[in-house]
């Protein structure tokens, strides 16, 4: 069976979902994640587009993206490349500019986030007319594969400190697998000032401040790159600093 993104009939309600996929050196993962996304959307008859924001990857990710565009159609695969590695917040701004969907999904391109959860996000969003649905690794049937005890401990302590200080009302603050109503995402991005891990945290904190409704869906997170990205003292210091800034400024 193959899923080549046929022009299926529009689903009732006319909702369209724009997936924002920032990429940097994802030559190997990109085709697979696109294949999985197309399969999920086609199977569930969801109207979609996937916006690839490549930061001039030296490994030729953009060339692969162009091949995928030929395969699946330029109405489904949209390319919004940038000149260099410019950070996540601006990637979202850049990607959202020409997004034609009324909903936006943000996720990682390295397959730690599985597209199979997207229909669940959509279902929860519709059931409660939520502004935001976020995946959580820490409650219910959520979980992580590929972390050793030390990494799990770091994650738990980090989350505990963040939750205690910020009282965010969500269980997974640093998660980046989320569904937003497009205007909600646009408003949040313009309000957020942090970078890195803290960027995703600040999005949730601001969302609460603005009174947006947030729902959670447990997700499984398969980390295949842990071991390549070290959690050094520097990163921890930056995290705590960012966290304290949020505590002091919001």
């Amino acid at each position: 069976m193959s899923f080549l993104g046929s022009t299926a009939s529009a689903p009732a309600g006319g909702d369209k979902y724009s997936v924002l996929l920032p990429t940097y050196n994802e030559r190997h993962n990109l085709p697979v994640i696109i294949w999985m996304l197309v399969k999920t959307f086609t199977e569930h008859n969801i109207n979609y587009e996937i916006i690839i924001i490549d930061d001039n990857s030296p490994d030729g990710t953009l060339d692969i993206a162009k091949q995928l565009q030929v395969l699946y159609g330029a109405d489904r695969i949209v390319l919004r490349p940038r000149a260099g590695k410019l950070g996540l917040g601006t990637a979202y701004v850049h990607g959202i500019e020409n997004a034609t969907g009324n909903f936006v999904i943000i996720m990682d391109a390295d397959m730690s986030h599985h597209p199979k959860f997207i229909p669940e996000f959509i279902k929860l969003q519709k059931a409660q007319n939520l502004d935001i649905v976020t995946g959580t690794r820490y409650t219910g049937s959520g979980g992580v594969h590929g972390w050793d005890l030390r990494r799990k401990l770091t994650s738990r302590v980090a989350n505990y400190i963040a939750s205690t200080l910020l009282q965010p009302g969500v269980s997974d603050l640093t998660g980046s697998f989320r569904l937003y109503k497009k205007p909600v995402l646009a408003k949040l991005i313009s309000a957020v000032i942090s970078k890195g891990y803290v960027f995703q945290m600040e999005m949730m904190v601001r969302a609460r401040q603005f009174g947006f409704s947030i729902g959670e869906v447990p997700i499984t997170f398969v980390d295949r790159v842990y071991g390549e990205s070290k959690m050094g003292a520097d990163e921890i210091a930056q995290y705590l600093l960012g966290l304290f800034k949020l505590f002091a400024l919001t």
Binding site: P31, Q67, V144, G146, L153, N159, F247
Partner: protein, 95 residues
């Protein structure tokens, strides 16, 4: 303008300590049983919070969800995807 979390925390802490000091110096009436315990109250709060934190983190660590199954399924899907993509002339090279 709403108060920041830091300001609210500082306000609560200052308020608590003021009340505590007043109670210690008997400027506020306090029942006998409470009066004995009063000097130790701040320390008790800190220690209790510490114990609660450790317990909470320990518990969340022990109940951390693993997803072996998800990993296996993903590996299978990845293999299937790569095959199909190769057939459709997408460049799939090995890492």
């Amino acid at each position: 303008m709403a108060l920041t979390k830091l300001v609210r925390f500082l306000l609560s802490t200052v308020t608590f300590f003021s009340l505590w000091l007043l109670a210690l110096n008997e400027a506020i009436p306090v029942p006998e049983a409470v009066a004995e315990f009063l000097p130790a109250l701040p320390l008790w709060i800190i220690v209790s919070f510490g114990a609660y934190s450790l317990g909470s983190i320990g518990w969340s660590l022990v109940t951390f969800g693993d997803c072996e199954e998800a990993h296996r399924e993903l590996m299978k899907e990845v293999a299937q995807a790569r095959d199909e993509l190769r057939r459709n002339k997408i460049t799939i090279d090995d890492e």
